[in-house]
Amino acid sequence: MDKINVDHMLAIEEPFMKAPLEQLKRSLRQSQKLVERETQQVNSAISSMVNNHDNLSAAEVNKTLGELVERLQTLKRKLEEAKQEETQLIRRSKQRATDLNELSTFTSTTQPEFQRWCRTRMDRILIDYMLRNGNVETAERLIENSHLEHFADTSLFALVMSTERELREENSCRSALQWCVENRSALRKIQSTLEFELRLQEFIEMIRERKTPDAIAYAKKHLAAWSDTEMPRFQRAMTLLAFSPSTNCPPYKNMFDMSRWDHLAHQFRMVIFQLFDLPAQPLLHLLLQTGLSALKTPACVSADPTEHNRNCPVCHTETLGKLAKDLPLSHHVNSNLVCRITGDKMNEDNPPMRLPNGFVYSLNSLTDMAAKNDGKVKCPRSGQVFSFSDAKKLFIS
């Protein structure tokens, strides 16, 4: 019976626990900004009314006040929406913790409840993979089948996918820039240049369309602000004005290249994952890389198919074995012997027995075989038949 290492098992779930918290923080920050902006504007509207008092009719004052009230009501509605979303995120965070905590109640890896937990984990990991790859319908099916609504950060990934699509397919920075503006302070904290890159792209597109005056105006408005930190790149951007899209001069040719849009899409994804403390890759990738490596033995990659074991994922040379091709082999400081006949572990209780031809099988399997065949045993690998009494017990220290 194998004990369950709860700490280790939980560790890999960290991204699932962190994502709702980062979303919560972002929601609070946005509310904060919204409140500051709106109240300030209402305040200054009142101030200007006071200053202008003599020139305003009572009707005008009423009208303005009415508008301000409406404005605050909109703010209130937005805060109510935020409250609802936050409540859901907190609930989700608790549900995730509760589901994961079930782990501490299991005593053995062979318990059906544990296997069920592992199946749900598999679905969780697959949902994460599907959402990241934009396989939304598959994700939805899995979410519904396994009742995992609270484990799927659907809206976050939907934002990533739709913004990426807009960049890649429509060649538009609109949503990406809007997101950058909303998250400007957070982006500054991680020293992200995403907004600069997006602005640069809009600038490049203006030059491509030969709208030189527009481009210059745009650069003044949006790029100049970056000249402190991105001076060389800012200068290079301005130099682009001297080149045409058909140029062969390398740095400028690259700037005109349409593949920049793909880079932007990728950069957007990486920045948003970084901001929400999500791994850059789906958890499935990380688990498969490390898991396949931990299972990989020289036998898996042997050209001799009889070395393979159908239960071993790495031995499936057409599927998972391909993924394991370049991964390190597992490391063993102690011997692990598995009987080729039964698949059972060979140890003091079920010791390895060497047949005269050198092949080793477990005592239990040979005893069973001998009992059914008048004390004879047949080596499944060579077909040779021996007397059970010729098998010699091995000691593996």
Binding site: K25, E36, A280, G291, H331, V338, S397
Partner: protein, 368 residues
């Protein structure tokens, strides 16, 4: 973990209270403005409300950060330290598709194949029977699944798969739950004795249920009646079916991910150490540490020489001395050369693990 859950309750309470307070003060501000009070008073109210909401938000933020710290403490793992890329999207998608097919989820497989633009492999025919039985089990119909298990009794038994008994047991519980006590008893008489050798304790436990047949929900047997049991059996059926077809008993993807759940935290630590030496864990020939996996995930024999601690290879195979102890060829030759002081002349040497004496030519190759 428990404290995390307790704290999430606290956080929820705090959030509900604080955000309601903010909304209330905003509502109050709105009514102040609606009442056409003196502008100075209005501006004063605006400043007060802004201050109040800002403080509420700040408090909440601090609390969430604290909760985040607790999460970090509970789930201490930095996954960013293991950022190597993995470029096999089509092979991976095919493996996932096979996983859905294996798990008996043909509908999800279809949706995924369409979304990922993959061809659905022609396993449907092979798995047709499996899907039908699995679907029936999910609809709580067991008759045909039981027939299948009875038909394959011998093979299931020789492979040690307890499917047939599990199905009889489930059918028994179903009859009890439906109040068909006589039928349940007849079912038990017909099938349970066949499994008395392996499952006597469980049978005795099950038979005790007749005492409670009228008040199951309050009986000690109530945990047996979870909705989950149907899904568990559906999976057990799919797994047994695949094993009998000669396929792996578990979906290979499930096994690999299960191993990964054990390996990832360990490799993460190693990876950050290797990075300090500007090395990538995934570029190594062998993982620098052992990942302990449970016995059911050990598929191949691995022999690590007890003397040199190295894994045996084709060039340096495991050799058995006459006493039955096994070491690798290289270590054996070193022993024979008398590298160790106290080795005996004439090529005879002592086994490092027992008093047995041998000469080099006595050692025999073993194949695990």
């Amino acid at each position: 973990m428990d404290s995390l859950i307790r704290n999430s309750d606290k956080l929820a309470k705090h959030h509900a209270g604080a955000s309601q307070k903010s909304l209330n003060s905003l509502a109050q501000l709105i009514s102040t403005l609606e009442q056409h009070t003196d502008p100075a008073q209005q501006q004063h109210a605006i400043a007060a409300t802004t201050k109040q909401i800002t403080e509420q938000l700040k408090d909440l933020y601090t609390n969430i950060s604290k909760y985040g710290k607790l999460v970090e403490k509970t789930f201490k793992l930095d996954l960013t330290s293991i950022g190597s890329t993995f470029d096999h999207s089509s092979v991976l998608n095919e493996s996932i598709l096979l996983h859905f097919l294996r798990e008996g989820d043909f509908a999800t497989a279809q949706v995924f194949a369409r979304e990922a633009q993959l061809e659905l492999p022609s396993v449907r025919g092979q798995f047709e029977e499996m899907y039908q039985r699995v679907e029936e089990i999910r609809r709580h119909e067991l008759t045909r699944a039981i027939e299948w298990a009875v038909d394959h009794h011998d093979r299931l038994d020789s492979l040690g798969i307890p499917l047939e008994f599990s199905l009889h047991r489930l059918r028994f519980l179903q009859l009890i739950e439906e109040g068909q006590v006589t039928e349940a008893l007849a079912h038990a008489r017909e099938w349970f004795p066949r499994f008395s050798a392996q499952s006597m304790a469980e049978i005795e436990h099950l038979m005790g249920i007749f005492i409670y047949s009228r008040r199951l929900p309050s009986s000690p047997y109530s945990p047996l009646f979870t909705e989950q049991r149907w899904e568990d059996i559906a999976h057990m059926f799919a797994s047994a079916f695949c094993t009998l077809l000669g396929l792996s008993s578990m979906s290979p993807l499930t096994t690999a991910v299960g191993a990964g759940a054990r390996a990832l935290p360990i490799v993460c630590k190693v990876s950050s150490l290797l990075r300090e030496k500007r090395l990538e864990w995934s570029q190594q020939n062998e993982l620098p540490v052992e990942v302990p996996v449970p016995d059911e995930m050990r598929f191949h024999s691995v022999f690590a020489c007890p003397v040199s601690k190295e894994q045996a290879t084709e060039d340096n195979p495991p050799m058995m001395m006459p006493c039955g102890h096994v070491v690798c060829q290289v270590s054996l030759e070193k022993l024979a050369k008398g590298v160790r002081p106290g080795s005996i002349a004439s090529g005879r040497f002592k086994c490092p693990y027992c008093p047995g004496l041998s000469v080099l030519s006595d050692a025999k190759r073993v194949y695990f």
